[in-house]
Amino acid sequence: MSIARILEIAFRTGRVTRKYPHEPPLLTPEFRGAVRVDPSKCWGCGACVKICPPNALSLRSDSGREVVLEYFVGRCIFCGMCAEVCPARAIEVTKEFELSSTSLESLKYGVAHRLVRCSSCGSLVWTEAELRAVIRSSPVAEEYVVLCPRCRKTRFARAASIRVGAGSE
């Protein structure tokens, strides 16, 4: 008689298989897919690179004049930690998951950032976008903001010593 019981369950349930891809997939509103980096918002600070567990995000510098934030979706585990730590809110977690491709290169996305040189010693310090964001968000004197941390310290020490009259260095 057990066959009758399972048949009853089967008939009452009906068809449950979705004819994906001809029907939409079963996605909930909470689903996390691949991430998207908005090039107009990204500063190139590298916070996402630091937190990314599988190294799907990396900062690489080929020419020395610019850095590229590279997102390799083939390594991504869709955890969304990068979006959580991004200070510029440039990373968005999408619902994209149909990502298969025949070319490896099409799985890589890059955001290029020009680097800024220290106005005093000429070493490469940070990206233009990050510099602009800092100027926008904090009241930093502009002659300091274009300096590398070492030159900034030296200049500050010199200025301070003049003020307190402790003599020059």
Partner: protein, 538 residues
């Protein structure tokens, strides 16, 4: 410390043990090398289970290698952690295997990975592959995590393997290999060879490549079925070691998701078991019901599997009214549908006939091997971490631990069927009591040199993580998954059963396989070898 524990610690003291540190649920005892076997015997005879042992290269801090033996005093809810110092110039420990049969694998693992020799037992290579050079020990600190030592070609094959050509399936996520020795249809002996996918994650987590915050995601990938258990266990160990307070709401959310994971895991297993018994209608319908749980998991966490919501200090996703509503609706539906299906499936006479009396694990064998989870509970051992060492929100819910004494395949099946209903009740209670407040505490520091043992009841049994904190990342992170403890019991289960019952018996410990596995069958009379498929249709 309760009276019973005090008396035990005093007896350990008489054998030379010195208490180093007493924590809420752990006691660390330093034991001289010569006394370790006697102390292990004392603890094991007094009812303690061996959770695992772990070797740590502490030459950088204490100047010694340390071996930690974690004994669970289940009836007291306390872990007794024995620490044995091993000098660098004389890397040898007496084996505790004669007293504690459950120590077999973890001792061999210490020998393989840390290069500590064992006296008083037979040794063989367990974890490292055949072509790994001798004298290179990956868990020593001077070994870099990304080092690739040259391969060694060996002329002689290890003696316990006859013909190791063939059936490793590279695409399986957990390849296993059993050699069954049969006389006619009866299995007379079993040799297991595993660790084909040993990924060295314990070493990886110590490397500069990883930080405390990233490891939960690594831990979650230890297992494709019970990954959340591993990430929870890791964060619990770190939180315990560093004394980080976790918001109560986060504890509840973790517990709810753990039970959702148990539901999906048990339903998956019950489907596979039905499939192995040739009852594919049962398989299809179990998995149809399971799909509801998968969709719920995605709605609660953002992902069907590898939920990714655990961080040190709490969780990343909160529950809201919609999610609570959906959870209650889903578990009610699952309960109703699964009840009907389980009744229908268990009334199939062939199911019972195949499962009754096959693959028997007696209580004494189960005890000797310290088996865990449904395997232990089906053999009459009352063991459940949620009851013995209440963690997260489990001390606030009431539930029953299914217990059977037959120790056969049917008992293991019934334990899981009943646990499905218990999990649903737990989820309902947790949702009812869900407290308010934040879900993560971000203000914390993790000082180096702290230790902690954390255990979580995974669907397959007790999962144990042992952490020694370091700077920015753990100094040592030892993981012991439940299957590690249960596979050695297969030998006892398979001996004497008929070959046709072997696939179900192997599956009955829920050893993480979901695809085609194969066994090598050797007829001891004719020495003829042939392969059979463990799961049909793979």
């Amino acid at each position: 410390m309760s009276k019973g524990v005090e008396a035990l610690v005093e007896m350990v003291g008489k054998l030379g043990g010195a208490v180093e540190d007493v924590r809420k649920s752990e006691i660390y005892i330093r034991v001289p090398r010569e006394a370790v076997r006697a102390v292990a015997k004392l603890l094991y005879d007094s009812g303690a289970y061996l959770k695992t042992c772990a070797g740590v290269d502490e030459r950088g801090t204490s100047g010694f290698y340390s071996i930690y033996y974690i004994f669970g005093l289940d009836s007291h809810g306390v872990d007794a952690v024995l620490k044995v110092l091993v000098p660098e110039h004389d890397p040898l420990i007496p084996s505790i295997l004669p007293e504690v049969p459950a120590a077999d694998w973890c001792e061999l693992e210490i020998r393989d990975l840390l290069g500590i020799e064992l006296s008083g037992r037979l040794t063989k290579r367990l974890v490292l592959p055949e072509d790994w050079p001798d004298g290179v020990y990956p868990l020593r600190k001077e070994f870099r995590y990304d080092e690739k030592p040259p391969r060694v070609v060996r002329e002689e094959l290890p003696e316990e393997v006859g013909i190791p050509v063939g059936p490793y399936h590279p695409a399986l996520h957990e390849p296993e290999y059993f050699e069954l020795y049969v006389e006619g249809e009866k299995v007379v002996d079993v040799v297991y060879r595993g660790f084909h996918v040993h990924r060295g994650i314990e070493k990886l987590a110590e490397s500069p490549r990883f930080t405390y915050k990233q490891i939960p995601f690594l831990a979650e990938r230890i297992c494709g079925i019970c990954g959340f258990v591993h990430s929870t266990c890791y964060v619990m160990a770190v939180e315990k070691a560093a004394g980080i307070g976790v918001p109560e709401r986060a504890e509840f959310i973790r517990s709810i998701v753990l039970e959702v994971e148990r539901l999906h895991s048990h339903l998956l297993w019950l489907g596979v078991a039905a499939h192995l018994l040739g009852y594919d209608a049962g398989f299809m319908h179990t998995w149809r019901i399971r799909e509801r749980v998968m969709v719920l998991a995605e709605y609660l966490t953002g992902s069907r599997k590898t939920y990714g919501i655990n961080v040190v200090g709490g969780v990343r996703k909160d529950l809201n009214v919609d999610k609570i509503d959906k959870t209650m609706k889903t578990v009610a539906q699952v309960r109703e549908e699964f009840k009907k299906l389980a009744d229908a499936a268990l009334s199939v006479p062939q199911i019972k006939a195949r499962a009754v009396g096959t693959g028997v694990l007696t209580k004494s064998e189960a005890r000797a091997l310290s088996v865990v989870g449904p395997v232990a509970r089906a053999s009459g051992l009352y063991r459940d971490i949620r009851k013995d060492y209440p963690y997260l929100a489990y001390r606030k819910v009431s539930f029953r631990v299914p217990l059977y004494t037959e120790g056969d395949n049917l008992a293991r099946l019934l334990v899981r069927v009943e646990e499905v209903f218990e999990s649903i009740e737990i989820i309902k209670q947790l949702i009812d009591m869900l407290p308010g407040g934040g879900i993560v505490s971000e203000e914390y520091e993790i000082p180096p040199g702290r230790r902690a043992v954390a255990a979580v009841e995974a669907p397959r049994g007790e999962d144990v993580h042992f952490v020694i904190t370091g700077l920015g990342r753990p100094y040592r992170w030892r993981v012991r998954a439940p299957t590690y403890q249960n596979i050695p019991a297969l030998r006892a289960m398979l001996r004497g059963t008929s070959l046709a019952d072997a696939p179900l018996t192997i599956a009955s410990i829920d050893p993480c396989f979901s695809c085609t596995d194969r066994v090598l069958v050797v007829d001891v009379r004719s020495s003829r070898r042939s392969f059979i498929k463990l799961v049909r249709g793979g």
